[in-house]
Amino acid sequence: MNRHTWYRTYRPYISPMDPCPPIKVKRYSTPPNLFVGFQPPGLEQFPALAALKAGTLWKCFYDPYYSLKELKRGSENETASP
């Protein structure tokens, strides 16, 4: 599951009077629990050790959060994926 699926963005109003350099795009999390509904049985699982690492047994709920700093560092050396 692509982790970017679980995030949405919006563009806040930017005033010429704002003192800080503007953040043009704001990101927010819309995690999988908002979309799955009542979990159907038999969903695809991680093996035990990978489940522990992911924090969930079921792949459809896996939604790791990375800070923008981490994402930037990851795209620089292509190691963002866990």
Binding site: Q39, P41, G42, A48, L49, L52, L57, W58
Partner: protein
């Protein structure tokens, strides 16, 4: 002071992985009490967890008190390191 061998961490992680599957399935079964496959998987992991812990406790001492592990002499459950120290 007791020093832990490097394999302590990987052996502990195997237990943590087995017990994590158990926790996940336990929460799932509260809302899906009739899922026979999940119940079978739960019981498989209970079996695995018990056997991993038996071997782990023999090497590093009791993991639980209050009768959930057998006690040896001296009573090693009380010995450091505690989970936040390792």
């Amino acid at each position: 002071m007791k020093q832990l061998p490097p394999e302590y961490y990987s052996e502990l992680e195997e237990i943590q992985a087995a017990d994590f599957v158990i926790v996940e399935l336990a929460l799932y079964l509260h809302t899906h009490p009739d899922d026979l496959d999940a119940i079978k998987q739960y019981n498989e992991y209970v079996k695995l967890s018990k056997s991993l812990k038996k071997a782990f406790e023999r090497k590093y001492g009791a993991l639980t008190s209050f009768g959930y592990s057998f006690a040896r002499c001296p009573f090693d459950y009380k010995e450091a390191p505690w989970p936040w120290q390792v």
